[in-house]
Amino acid sequence: MLKVGLEIHGYLNTNEKLFCRCKVLHGKKHSESNVNICPVCTGQPGSKPLLPNTEAVKKVIEIAIILGCRISPEGLWQRKHYSWPDLPKGFQSTISGPHSVPSGTGGKFMGIRIKECHLEEDPAAWNPITGEVDYNRSGAPLVEIVTEPDFKTSEEVVSWLGNLMSTLSYVSAIDKKSGLKADVNVSITGGERVEIKNINSFRKIKEAIDLEFTRQEKNPPKIEETRTYDEEKKMTVLMRTKDSAMDYRFISEPDLPVLKISQVLINEIKKSIPKLPFEKMKKLVTKYKIEKRYAEILTKRLSLVELFEELVKKVKPEIAIPWVSVELLGVANYNKMDVDEIDINPEHFTKLLLAVESGKISELKAKDILRGWAKGSSPPEKEIEEGKKIELKEIDKIAKEVIKENEKAVKDYKAGQKNSLNFLIGEIMKKSGKRAGFKETREALLGILG
């Protein structure tokens, strides 16, 4: 029996870093290295932390509330010491550890129990191959969410994570574009727990869990281990065992006052939390009378809620629903990506679907364009113009060509084989570069063949 628990780090959506006023860079696109830095976030001798960023604190409380946690009214900052190239002060400032109660404890989210969630700072970015250290991210505020080991399959993990990230990014608590970092704890019955550190995509998380499960079944671990996932070799690699576990030497932080979280603040934040995607989705299903099979897909994929909401502003729901819940997912599956990893601009998608709705382009053509958006959507106007449905005259012309080239199929149709008609229609649409619509093609063909 497989048991999986997660320790997730999400990047909080703030302007400034946690303990200094440097800008936080969002998104994976990197600007020049080592620009958003100051004495505090580079751990210069004599530097001290500023008071923690209010926005960061508020967002962690918001997240804790969404996760159903108990909020602790006081937070004792701690120093968690260890030596690593990405840790400028030689310790990380955090509200966790044996002497401190984290801001959120004892919650539950979509069936998985939450052990705790707390606020801490990001280390710098260290490239182990070149040794280069970039302090742009050093000191950025993070939320750490720790689950109980309630997951039973890797699919469950990835789908839950997707929903978690979508929910948290929906309320702008975390910056989804900056990605996530997860430590995954995997164990099987009769074996000790193994921690796989620092996995930063859903695909890798699923791979790592599956590989680790297989490895553990062959040889159940007898001591707790910390491992890392080697993507190239497709295996997990041992970093250290519990025996040589890190001693973090926690002490209370003498440079920061106790963090006070008043009931007034908590109430204020509770009131300001917008309706969560899950609730929204249930409402949308009712409102648009979405069929069960589509509804199930949509409610499991909360990232699609935002997209769907945007689309139905201009596009008819009957069109939007299958395109969002089936076609888009199909593109993701084909490219072995998670649908959350496809960067779709709602404006682009709206334009595309409006073109389908108005009959300007064929569905096949639209699917083509959508497939090209695996690496991110682009403005579709040009492709729509170039791919727009052709006139009946054109279809007629192509139809006559196809009839000439496919005498057997014509004969079969005339002999009563309905499939041959569809074959011919297919050929016509292909020949037209998918610019002939199905309905129009069928009409034209029937018109010719009788």
Partner: protein, 86 residues
């Protein structure tokens, strides 16, 4: 071992480690004789959080200075150790 500065051999370091432990043990022993101690207290201030602004841009001067101090570096980065887990 004394207090005057000197370069320390491994043997010196061992001796110092022992001295430190001895001192800390002896101090701890004296303190543990005191009865009825208050709680250690925590740092309380009126504000424990700060309002954020739009975020400050870094200064190129500062980047230059920290690179100057780095034992290993290139044009844009401080260079720490290189490592795998083999």
């Amino acid at each position: 071992m004394g207090f005057l500065y000197k370069k320390l051999s491994e043997k010196d370091k061992e001796e110092i480690k022992k001295e430190a432990k001895r001192i800390m043990d002896s101090f701890g022993k004296k303190l543990s004789k005191i009865k009825e101690l208050p709680k250690e207290g925590s740092i309380k201030r009126e504000n424990s959080i700060r309002e954020e602004g739009p975020g400050k841009d870094g200064s190129p001067d500062f980047k230059k200075r920290i690179l100057e101090n780095a034992p290993n570096k290139n044009k844009d980065f401080i260079i720490a150790e290189k490592k795998g887990w083999e």
